[in-house]
Amino acid sequence: MTYRFRDLLALEPLSADELTFILDQSQPFQEIQRHPLKKLATLRGKTVVLAFFENSTRTRLSFGTAASRLGADTMNLQAEASSLKKGETLLDTANNLNAMKPDCFVMRHSSSGAADFVARHLEIPVVNAGDGTHEHPSQGLLDALTIRDRKGTLKNLNVTILGDISHSRVARSNIHLLGKFGCRFTLCGPAMWVPRELEKIGPPGTPIRCVYRVEEALEDADVIIVLRVQTERLHEPSLAQNDYILLYQLNAERMRLAKKDALILHPGPINRGIEITPEVADGPRSAVLEQVTNGVSVRMAILYLLMVGATEGTHPALEVKGETKPKESAHASD
């Protein structure tokens, strides 16, 4: 098997076999993280753009580490320092960076669909490192790798996601990936963050239920994904921070309701004492630091698959819509 797309924009269009393939290709890179010398020459002479139009520390450092361990160089664009502040359009910025002849374009943007838009205009592979509330494919993959390592399988697990689901691209990527392996989802949080419409976002037939009591959400859970609560969204009169803690915080007492071997994930950065207590975040059932290590391995696999070999990939967005027109004509019609 090979990865058939030119870009990695979303997990939604990928099949269970294709997702398994990417996870399998991440395994050799997990070994590299344990080597005394971690630098390969596989992508020597290649350049990866890290265009973070929205702030990020972990994801940007993780992609940067992945690129440099493969031997590639990186070009960094950060939101505060960029010419976006001076009014340049996204497309102009992308075209200007592309004119410096990089080989891959990793980008994060606050607008859903931004990576897809850029991918339609560039000839080089584009990796979505998070777009608005749409998807965060590399996070979905590293979560799945962590779950598979700890649980031995991705099949038929009870997955609970806690927090602000409606604004979470991480939750969407998790559901699109794990839903293809028969996982059942329980989404839990304050009603304003867990609208019933979310029950329909998974792959067809995926059992997703929205519940509003954390005790109910934790029962029988194999995996608990705790999302970061954006504290700026917690305020009177909708919901005070103390009320969130009282109603939804994952603490040791509530963890007794979950399965004994339930696994806890958090995409970071953690608000200690808000969505999760330190004892749970640092406890034996938590895999938050394994997630970070696996993040580098997954991102090395993504860069390897997109940048090595003479692949003739298609554009996943075109494929989803059933279009087959070549890149050039799609470009010309814009």
Partner: protein, 183 residues
């Protein structure tokens, strides 16, 4: 272009006898099995390394550690092979520092695989010595690389292919010479 089998070079019994001899030679030249470890190069070097280790158990009664190495990430032709080269896992669970490592592969040809394997090994540490053991040396080297332990030297033309078939991977056990013929 089609592939035609020209002749059988080794039978199952001959492969077995050759591996026994290679095991003896490695033990003799290394002055025993202390500090010795075998590294099988994926794919067919892996079962060969395991069988040599098994033969060594018969000689010295000692368990020689065996690791496996996938050289894909170290290849020098990754930008030209299409499509992607699929990665396999490497498993070397022991520290390689100060060890006498013997790389094991089925066929030595251009030497490029061995060059890649050595780069991979040196990312793991600083072995004391690295030597090379192959079942078949077919010539046509493109690198200054030689094997210290050779099962059989075979003269070939560059249109010919040597196929080592092992029961662990191919469900049969023999070495054959195949030729590319214009069809």
């Amino acid at each position: 272009m089609r592939l035609v089998e020209k002749s059988q070079l080794m039978s199952a019994a001959e492969i077995d006898r050759t591996l026994q001899r290679l095991a003896h030679q490695i033990v003799e030249k290394s002055g025993g099995t202390r500090h010795l470890a075998l590294i099988g190069i994926r794919r067919r070097g892996v079962p060969l390394a395991q069988r040599i280790a098994q033969a060594m158990r018969g000689i010295d009664g000692v368990e020689v550690p065996v690791g496996t190495l996938d050289i894909t990430l170290y290849r020098d032709d990754l930008s030209t092979v299409a499509p992607q080269a699929v990665l396999q896992s490497s498993h070397i669970s022991f520290p390689v520092d100060s060890l006498d490592l013997v790389l094991v592969d089925d066929v030595l040809y251009t030497g490029r695989t061995v060059r890649a394997a050595m780069n991979g090994l040196f990312d793991l540490g600083r072995p004391k010595r690295v030597s090379l053991c192959v079942l078949i040396d077919r010539g046509h080297r493109e690198m200054p690389i030689e094997a210290q332990y050779v099962g059989r030297d075979i003269q070939t033309s560059d249109t010919e292919i040597i196929e080592v078939r092992l029961r662990e991977i191919d469900n049969e056990e023999r070495v054959i010479l195949v030729d590319r013929v214009e069809s």
